[in-house]
Symmetry: C2
Subunit: 324 residues, 2 copies
């Protein structure tokens, strides 16, 4: 690892929008070394007053839905409006699959080449808790570095969506028309977190199917109750190839932000998210300490097997372990 | 509290199907006294090998959907087949609302009067974690006492549904036709946990609307992907008044059990649930110990406020508290 900066050097560099310092600070946040973690927290506390001014958008959809091309198309439009955009990724499977999403920056080469865009792949080889934690902190650093819009990309097949939903203002789901939802592998519950769904690849021969799917999803979403935001999820069609419908997605986001900022939900939700992450971090820390204890490591395997087989009650086994 | 039995007296009484001993054991499980908890775990470990042989069904729906009458109608049919039925409830709001669900046993007076039915209201004045824990343990005791079918009733408005879903084999959602889902207050996500939905009060003038709602929900559920069980959720209509469709609901449950037992999913899910509860119990125990520390209680309020306001990062504050 490159030589570490001081807290001041990190903070000043980030606030000046220096991309190299930003990248180094994110690497620090991703580090599992205790000394790095301590330094990272000092940097975060320093820049925190300058964070929080972006619109945070979670974007999910299974591989093949066209996430990269959609993000590139929408991202370029935002850059064209003078905005600064950061794209982060949460992909706890990146180690197993042998390559993180966004790892290949050439997938979004126009974005990657743009001076006002910052793209960062998912940290590799971390647990879901570790990835979401460092992504949330990277988001704060990107905001402090002056990015107006943060996209957090996720793969749409696992639990990371819930974690990302808990750190963004707006959750966008990308779906394909006619693929059958089983094939799309969207996990139960993900669709219900969506503030908007866009049916991608709505061009050429696929356009009719996309419009049909749009109506179906809109009907299905109406069966669900109003979210606490008071927002009715919107379903659109879009094509990253023709550009049709891409700007509309951002109009939906802006309408959402305006409506929820007026109602106060936007601010309240951010505060709730902060609090949620506090308790989440405490939980993670407690479990980390607990499972690292030698006595726990010694007795857990046997007790775990007994609980699985049903020869010992879960709470009895837990009580035993907690008493060690 | 009445005099405590010995572990043997509890275990023998439960295994003999003695209702008085069963009730006293459940009271023990619900107790927050450390000595009671210790005794409860010993009793649980003793009877555990005799538990697990029931079909566990979670039943939810908002107040007014007709849960009690439906449970009574279905329960009486099962009792008529010679089955033994236990009905438990999870209602963490029971203290606030001034009366637990099932608290008024007269709501199910025919069931309550039956020798092969055991009805137990939700423990009052406990947290969600406490209620779900003791309900899960009560379920084990009821199984050891020879009940073939366990119904776990929940109110359909909060987080308890997720917890109940994690302790049952089959999740049944009761819905009203034409009330509009917003009015029904079904929380997002609950519908997606359902293995079956039954539209209640499908009788008289309401029958047409119920059949229409049935079709709508069936279509909506088809939009969601296949669950890991490989089971397609079924939507039916039923009337506790005329009895129409009540037996069909149980046929659906039996078909589900047969299908998932054949595929091995049933057994695998039970094992996963056991393991889930082990980690859940550890988490609960760790947090209980942590938040009881005087130093944590002293510093948490200030740090919490700083995190909410965004002047301190969640992970930084957590690290401070964990270091105390």
């Amino acid at each position: 690892m490159a030589k570490r900066f001081s807290v001041d050097e990190y903070a000043d560099g980030i606030l000046a929008g220096n991309r190299m310092v930003l990248s180094r600070a994110i690497t620090l946040v991703e580090s599992t070394l205790a000394s790095d973690q301590q330094l990272a927290q000092q940097v975060l506390d320093r820049v925190l007053p300058h964070a929080g001014r972006s619109v945070r958008v979670g974007i999910t959809g299974v591989p093949g839905v066209g996430k990269s091309t959609f993000i590139e198309a929408l991202g370029l439009q935002l850059l064209g409006q003078g905005k600064r955009l950061a794209v982060l990724a949460v992909d706890p499977t990146s180690q197993r699959s042998g390559g993180s999403i966004l790892g290949d920056k050439t997938r979004m080469n126009q974005l990657a080449a743009h001076a006002r865009a910052y793209i960062r792949p998912s940290p590799a080889g971390r647990s879901l808790g570790g990835v979401t934690r460092s992504t949330r902190e990277a988001m704060i650093l990107c905001e402090a570095a002056g990015h107006d819009v943060i996209f957090i990309e996720t793969v749409g097949v696992g639990q990371s969506e819930t974690a990302v939903h808990g750190m963004v203002d707006f959750f966008l789901l990308l779906m394909l028309a006619g693929a059958g939802d089983e094939l799309q592998g969207i996990k139960k519950g993900i669709m219900e977190m969506a503030d908007a769904v866009t049916i991608t690849k709505s061009d050429g021969q696929n356009e009719t199917a996309a419009k049909l799917a749009r109506r179906e999803y809109q009907n299905a979403l109406h069966l669900f109750p109003l979210a606490p935001s008071g927002w009715n999820p919107v379903v659109t069609t879009s094509s990253a190839v023709t550009g049709a419908g891409v700007a509309e997605v951002w109009q939906v986001v802006e309408k959402y932000v305006q409506q929820t900022q007026t109602s106060g939900y936007f601010q309240r939700r951010r505060q709730e998210q902060n609090l949620h992450w506090l308790y989440e971090a405490i939980r993670q820390g407690l479990e980390q300490q607990f499972y690292a204890r030698p006595a726990v490591q010694e007795h857990l395997p046997t007790l775990r097997q007994q609980v699985i087989e049903g020869s010992k009650s879960a709470f009895g086994a837990a009580a035993e372990l907690l008493g060690l």
